[in-house]
Symmetry: D2
């Protein structure tokens, strides 16, 4: 029985909200469907796909058979306007096209793409190689990391859901930066992601035969999540940070592990206590006991983040180890966590899923 408790629900409840998903054929999309199909206060009414309109969702995703009886439809503001909330699980560039019209109609928006994450439109253009079509909305958008922005999230109507690497890396560095415990000039984030982080794209580079039984760094000339991470870290740090962010591809489907390195300014502090205190009361961040190392499978399919902090050989370098499921806390799960906050539901509703081990 869940420790988090259960909720009184009635099928057909008039208070159940209607959700739409734009871009339901990708990995974040199907993960949203998996979570929302069992969410007690939400019903998915619209799932769009430009290329697969007319197809049963459960034909493409047989895991949803018996749980979701919908067909993909064309993305269309009119159809989506009847929703209470619309999730964008699309590549960047789509949400910014449809957001203004939907917001006008009173629909709340949760954008899982990068369109509203970067506050500075020029920085966005520089990294994402496109102009921003509604830069005026950037200020209105709330960055959806509940552990930092919970109150802002509750009252927002346009939510920028964080990227997967940014979620893991910010959660790991924040306690250190907030308390000014480390040098800010040489932060290192050695991050590793399962292949689903690349999305569902027919590219040679993500074939099983190309990535299985191998390991490599990638994006060594600059990864688009870098400006998002730096923006987030700067917001909590007294001094601007210089971050080396090196992503790696792990031959597995799901999971991000980040090993974060920083030079301690005050080695005598009780790092364990600082982390535990910092995440007190946050239902999805779990600080492990000293000496443990989090593994990605412990959070696979769940919205939890597990963190450990250590100081090898009692040296000046602090190491923070963070794991999340890139598609859950790093995407769809965090999006539903944000939806819960935006609609006044319990923060953990629909997210009480335990990772399967093994």
């Amino acid at each position: 029985m869940a420790i988090f408790g259960c909720y009184l629900v009635q099928v057909g409840d008039p208070e159940v909200i209607k959700a739409g998903i734009v871009g339901g054929t990708g990995y974040s999309g199907v993960e949203l469907l998996r979570i929302l199909a069992l969410h007690p206060e939400t019903t998915v009414t619209t799932v769009t796909s430009r290329s697969d309109a007319g197809t049963r969702v459960s034909s493409m995703f047989p895991n949803l058979r018996k749980y979701l009886d919908l067909k993909f439809v064309q993305p269309d503001v009119a159809a989506l306007a009847s929703c209470d909330v619309v999730f964008f699980a699309t590549p960047h560039g789509t949400a910014m096209q449809m957001a203004p019209a939907l917001l006008d109609k009173g629909v709340k928006i949760i954008d899982l793409s990068a369109d509203f994450r970067i506050k500075d439109a020029a920085t966005f253009s520089n990294w994402y190689k496109m102009e921003h079509t509604c830069p005026d909305l950037l200020d209105k958008a709330v960055y959806g990391l509940p552990e930092i922005n919970r109150d802002l999230i509750k009252s927002c109507s346009l939510l920028a859901n964080p990227g997967c690497y940014p979620t893991a890396i910010q959660l790991g560095f924040m306690p250190l930066l907030k308390h000014g415990l480390v040098e800010t000039g040489n932060l290192i984030a050695d991050a590793k992601s399962g292949v689903s982080g690349a999305g569902k794209k027919a590219e040679l580079g993500y074939l099983l035969c190309e990535v299985s039984e191998s390991f490599k760094a990638y994006g060594i000339n600059g990864h688009r999540h870098l400006p998002e991470i730096v923006q987030g870290l700067n917001a909590v740090s007294q001094k601007p940070v210089a971050l080396t962010f090196m992503p790696h591809l792990v031959p597995m489907i799901r999971g991000i592990q980040a090993s974060l390195y920083a030079t301690l300014l005050a080695p005598e502090v009780d790092l364990q206590k600082i982390f535990e205190d910092f995440y007190q009361g946050h239902p999805f961040v779990d600080v492990l006991e000293a000496g443990m190392s989090p593994e990605t499978r412990s959070v696979r399919g769940s919205n939890h983040c597990q963190i450990a902090v250590c100081r090898p050989q009692n040296g000046l370098t602090v190491v923070v180890l963070v794991v999340i499921d890139n598609l859950v806390k790093g995407a769809a799960g965090q999006a539903v966590q944000n939806m819960n906050l935006m609609f006044g539901f319990p923060e953990t509703m629909g997210l009480d899923t335990i990772a399967t081990i093994p």
Copy 2:
């Protein structure tokens, strides 16, 4: 929102039943814990482990952190006697030792091991290389395949939960045998299992380096599930069957796929309709549309069985393709399904989990 509906629950409900698990450190054990931790009408009060007594369950299984606050205790009839139901997730030979005393105390037993599956004690001894210590209970035990024995299960107190291969293979062959549609003398079951089917044992043969990136048949001189399968098939068939059962090891964690072959006696029958009719009203068996092939990931972590039937090149050979998760429908999930039946809960309670894709 779940199509199966939701349940009114109150934490601390006096009607919640108390469950014990003997052998909580193995893969069936942790899977039971994962499912029962979120089951609305059950609370796990006792988890035993001879070797790990005193250890926090969530230290061994960090996926259960925040969901289960128990320590392993020594297996002990006195401690277990306060439970309403005790699950045995042990190797064969343990349940038969403790079952009589627990039954005497009015505890219901769900045995995930082989101890009570084979009706003939001599056959059991022959395949499992040990004497049966309570052969008189064999008649009392109900074989827990709900799709065949639902009514018997509802009123039983000693349940023999089927093996993983037997579940998949029986579900696939039963419609054909029940209707006498195939020759019974040359049935072939080419079955493939993920490595978790071997259990959590420190043996060289199941190291990642030994089984990853490889595929092989095993147990070619006879697998212990053979007599269980044959017993089950004979029970529905007009004539005794001769079955060639060849298990294979797949380099993945979970899942069983069985390709079943038989020679049709009456090729003109509508096989698709026969299968759909046969499984009408069974919430966990899902007959796919003609032309589809079930894949194990569609049921990974869920209690569903997906089945397809086809007749390649319109020949005389019928092929049935079956997938289950060996640890769920093939073990812990089916055990909870049986528990639901035994205690009058809705059959699907606690089992509305959707497989994660990807």
Copy 3:
């Protein structure tokens, strides 16, 4: 030290033959390059790729750095005409376009595609959905299974290299059919392949996230290798065969395992001896001792085929278990074995590679 012996070689030997590869960017192509780069009597002079002409081969395949210093060039008869042998590692439909002109210029051809495997042009068209452009060459082409056609291969100039499934399945069934030991009306081949069998194609279905941690049958409505297998089996069998061929996808890169089932006509024969005698003197087919089950990793990266034969529970069903590496004995390795025969080199030259375990 290799038991097969070693060869006297001098770099720059005027007797070294020149090899060209059409379609060098696929998995069979790179495997040919890996083998030929170390073949003592061959030098690769031309590797073509329509889409990647101009690219260094070792930029695409960094495993070849230091071993191959070539760029991809456009496929062109003039360029290839200076080769002694040209390998086609292309999709079907390409070799038949270029073969007549190359043969005219005295170039020997080894076609790894299906263009010259099926003797009947209508059957080819039916399964491969294209007209054959040089049906007159079909009679001239020799089917390159050395264990059956060694002498024909030695003197041929147009070689049809067998498919991967056909190699494994024919090698397994041939001893039984040649000796008329089994019923021919209900042969079953339950075959499993690693994902590289699908080739290097940017398709969603072969992404790591789609096929890893899952298992399924595929091609259930008919796989193109079926007519090739049946043609080969009929050639050795006294009676025409009826075969049910069910391929499956294994979440690994390389390897084919086939479990073959047939009904024995004469159960008293010594199957082990029949198989050992049949493959006596064939350097790449290895009959395992009774009771063993071959695993794909034992032949990974090597040209060996390992076979076991058994009769479960002493029943009437004989089971043959076969493993090969689909890219080696099932493609590039067998192609080099055939080249060795066609040019009078020792059959095993360049193929003395031992599988890596683990």
Copy 4:
């Protein structure tokens, strides 16, 4: 045809040396067998195993069928004394027991374990939790990293073969430290290894079901390779180094990737040229072109090390990316490279293996 050339060999050559392997059942052992079975100047005459004496080597490792016709024998100085060279592929603590007697008999020793790597006996005892039984030999032992110690290796009779992580990490850091280009006080080595790095041990932690589809840091309280790495780095650095070494477990069989981070003292240097010059003339270290990232599969099964160096966002942090196969350049291959040097064979003899892609 191999660019490295080929060698004149005659089977039964009286100059062929005799090799013994102590501990032939582990992963380094079988990898030695795979390489030496095809080495033109070596014949393996003795393979020992305490627990498996009497068993055919090829029964345990079916990849060696047709290539090695030996049985395991008891480890015994008398039997090994007839060898020219003895490899120890044992856990630490074994080689030091047998080395003195074998050296006395004129046998050269290549120890793949840690017994002779650490020059300071107290440091060895501290990390490996045992007394060193022949500390006097520590000075005599040569640390077998040919890229540093080639000349010493040529004339030594007791060779300490480097660990897998130490090989990768030293090769990556050495050009920077040798030239004094980086701060030595905050070096970071974030290293990742396939599971075979743990050896062939029947432990729960390395079961496929425990490590597949997951990623984690391990050894966070100190890994035994740390003192070996620091000793090696200090030997080339003008100032003592402080290194944070964090190993991670990758769900794959083979391969080590290390991402190394250091703060540049002189950012204006041409790092690419420095690395290329440093490894000029070293046949097994390959510096990739700027902008490339090495992947482990490119060196899988081969003795090559691939390295890239970069400076993300032109910052002060230099990143070196290194890949090796932990069982080849990180163990058995490097051991054979050292044997070649010790016996005057060409350094690459028997090591011209190209990684299989895919």
